[in-house]
Symmetry: none
Subunit: 199 residues, 4 copies
DNA sequence: CATGAATGAGATTTCATTCAT
DNA sequence: CATGAATGAAATCTCATTCAT
């Protein structure tokens, strides 16, 4: 949809996104080569450029895709919940599950994109913003209903995102095959109530 | 005959570390070139390899150096404080100041090093762990004194580190010349007490 | 059952030659892509290879076609003329008109085909030679009748061809929408009488 | 002087220009590879980019260099001559000698540069114009002194240039080891007096 | 006959690293 | 110790050509 939009639905685009996710996750943006992505996707090198404008476009597309996916899941699940607290808890839980399900993806998110072309950088930022926007909304809602304190919603959202990402990343680099904290409840508690024991 | 060790006392190493910090911060690991670092440091390109084994070694050294520095500062300041709460608050504050003082450094910390040589990767991890260890200790102390809940200290430390980093990063990519939240008090409150209104 | 030869009478070949002329003229041999030629011709990319052996073959065919066409036109017009002088003048005029009618074609003629496959190179050379042969014959005739000096006919023909081509090309690269010398009379005079003022 | 101006005088630049002249002459711009040029020049591939910004820059530099050289030679020789006629004759002679001395260079001059970057295209045009300017001046002089007819000087200059180039090229593609017309006198006569027998 | 998705050889260019001075 | 000219491995991307439909 980025480059050549009218290509027959052969599923190659999906194959490529999957392969790219895998390779970028393992090696990061710069460590990965287009050739390897193509190989993993089971297509020729040139085919990549039939579906994506450049290596960077491919990368950004992977990020967009995944974040959009998560955003969708989160929004869907929040519909049935009442109360900002419950919603935030659920968001964090889903987020956590997502990161532990396709764990290497954290590395993709944290990948060094300094020096990307403006437009693509923009797209990454937007995808991230869109995704974080969901959490931001929940926080805003909580502030309105009085459940949450009067914080800067965006800041809080990024703080939460950061907390989840870093814990997930830590799990990852320590090569634990399963996360050291098995469920998200500790993170939920941390975000909602902080570290301090209540008065 | 001021100094007879085989450590060159010409100060070039320091010059290089400074230059590298600046350039890596601006362009990230992959965006930076050894040549530019040498230029900024005011030395020849070949000189880099007299003091550092490789570009990566230089990069890792910068990270180590900076994290060690911050670790030292934090430890020093914590000595005079009483109570894990106060100590954690101070840690966060210093951390925040650090990130906003040499703001671009966040990018360095988050830089994509996937696929690095094992040894160097190890050193980065250790530097980070050592640095985070300070916060971890404070948390452990708080748990013991009953100030903090009985959380997994490492997880909590990473959550805090992540929260700070992401908020700082968000400030960065939005090109705000000054951070949107001017001091760290909101972050401190978030980490200590969470989002929920008490009672 | 209009035509039973194995020559496809769908007109695609002609369409392709036309499209190729246009595209090669605009972008030169190397700047043009087979895909664009096919697009302009309104056929599929693969179709090109049904009618031509390769991109180069297509290119050479265009040259052949056009030069043959011009050769035909010139020969036809010369039939009714008397005297080598008049014939040469008419040839130059037609040549000039041709170059200014499909002006970009000069670029095609001058296009860099170095390193072409021998066979194709040969064909270009022959086409050019055949085309120039007309002028050569006129010159030979003029020498016999005593109208022209006893020059090497081929050399003279190439000199004339070069003079016309370069002036046309100069017009082209200077982006003049109409040639700076509107008719060929100056060129005719140059070729017939040279620069020097008589006696 | 194009890219990195302050490189020690190791003679590599000259080596590269020579190698490039040779390779571009044999294979044309597109047929030549940077690697081969480097090989012929006896340097590494990367070295090319130390002295020239790109393959195209290298190519244009060769053209500039050679045309400037010829221009210089012509100007020098014309100084001692009297009369536009004699000057033009000498110019043509030198031109002819030049083309037959480094004969393959014609192909370089005629090379297909469609689609070059604007700036470089400009440089080629200017080099050519500067070179042809010499002939143009001579023609202007001749017109003023009454030796030549009142033609458009630029057109005449290009016509002459074209005549010489095409004859030289014809010699070349026919693989004659020595030119079919050994000296330039026929060309001189053609340009000065045309084909027609006087009176 | 016609198509265009797929391919992969091949070209340019960058840049970490070396080493002669 | 210091330098920076030289190198060449490696990566991205293009595009003529093929072939299954």
């Amino acid at each position: 949809m980025t480059n050549n939009s009218d290509i027959q639905e052969s599923g190659k685009r999906e194959l490529l996104l999957e392969g790219a996710l895998k390779v970028f996750s393992e090696k990061g943006f710069h460590g990965a080569t287009v050739e390897e992505v193509a190989e993993v996707a089971g297509v020729g090198k040139g085919t990549v450029y039939l579906y994506f404008g450049s290596k960077t476009d491919l990368f950004v597309s992977v990020v967009e895709e995944k974040l959009k996916e998560l955003k969708g899941v989160v929004k869907e699940r929040l519909k049935d919940l009442e109360g900002a607290r419950a919603k935030l808890a659920e968001s964090i839980k889903l987020h956590w599950e997502f990161f532990n399900q396709s764990r290497e993806f954290v590395k993709v998110i944290l990948s060094d994109l300094s020096g990307l072309e403006r437009e693509l950088d923009e797209r990454t930022r937007e995808a991230r913003a869109g995704f974080i926007g969901v959490i931001e909304s929940v926080i805003e809602e909580g502030i309105m209903t009085g459940e949450f304190k009067d914080v800067e919603p965006r800041m809080a959202a990024y703080a939460i995102e950061g907390a989840i990402s870093f814990v997930a990343f830590e799990n990852l680099v320590n090569d634990k095959s399963s996360p050291s904290i098995p469920d998200a409840s500790q993170l939920v508690d941390f975000c909602l109530c902080g570290l301090c024991r209540l008065g």
